[in-house]
Amino acid sequence: MSRPAAAHGDPAPASDQELRLVISEVGGITVGIEAVEVEVAAGEPAGETAGETIDLAAFWDLPTSTLARRALALRGPAERTVWLVLGPSATLKLIPRSARLDLPIFIQALAQRAGVCSLLALDHGLGYLLDVERLTGRRARGHQP
């Protein structure tokens, strides 16, 4: 079972047995993002000052409303800000490490192409743990598979 973590600004450390993830949804697909620091914006970033932006719905070619989306500013090991545009909700949660599952061999290459590093067994079903470094690297290469 996952438990809600603190809102932005609360240090609420994850134990050794837990992952501290932002859980959101993009086009009906649940995603988790692990980051050292997360800042949730009310809307989408605009302009060059926003830093690098990844619209996950566009990248995954998923239908999604252009309204009420959120962007996460991920500041982690990449030492740069990456804005990740997601669905309307984004919740910080502590997830047991045991909920992180290996990708089945059959879809490994596919998932990695989509910027996914592993699966998440969440309370309401399966989700995908995003590999932000892979996503940003892919963007730098022009989204070529």
């Binding site: 089945p104 061999i105 059959f106 079903g125 399966l126």
Partner: protein, 149 residues
């Protein structure tokens, strides 16, 4: 003699070697996979295992028996999914009907299979109860259906 598990996909009777068939089950609704080709339906969980689902009809370009792609129509839940395994991969394949086991002695290519893709994955064919039964090679099928890096 080799034992094969017989099933129907639309108008086609196909069979997998029983050594590659783990079980037949009714899985939970699939979770879509981002960037997946159309023949990969999604992921499901079966007793704690995460299993990718392959729409074999779409992958083999077999004509539709009517209705939507497997798993897409809520009025047509995937009641029969064959879980097959080969080379460390486990995949679920929805089908329209299962027909148990059949012992096959000497089988050979009859060149009666329709469809280029089905031919590619057919190990042999036999006539059974006036129907053509295509014996599908599971390891070759899974290797061909998976997405490459």
């Amino acid at each position: 003699m080799e034992t094969w598990f017989r099933f129907r996909l639309g108008a086609h009777w196909l069979a997998f070697s029983v050594g590659h068939v783990e079980e037949v089950c009714s899985p939970s609704p699939p979770t879509p996979i981002p960037l997946a080709p159309r023949h990969i339906i999604g992921l499901t969980t079966i007793r704690g295992r995460v299993i990718p689902l392959l729409d074999l009809r779409l992958f083999l370009d077999l004509p539709e028996a009517g209705g939507a792609r497997a798993g897409e129509d809520p009025d047509r839940p995937m009641e029969r999914v064959i879980i097959v395994a080969a080379d460390g991969m486990q995949v679920g394949i929805p089908c329209d009907q299962t027909a148990g086991l059949v012992q096959v002695g000497e089988a050979r290519r009859l060149d009666a299979v329709q469809g280029e893709k089905l031919k590619r994955y057919a190990r042999a064919e036999i006539m059974l109860d006036q129907d053509l039964l295509v014996l599908v090679d599971v390891p070759t099928l899974l290797e061909g259906a998976k997405v490459r890096p």
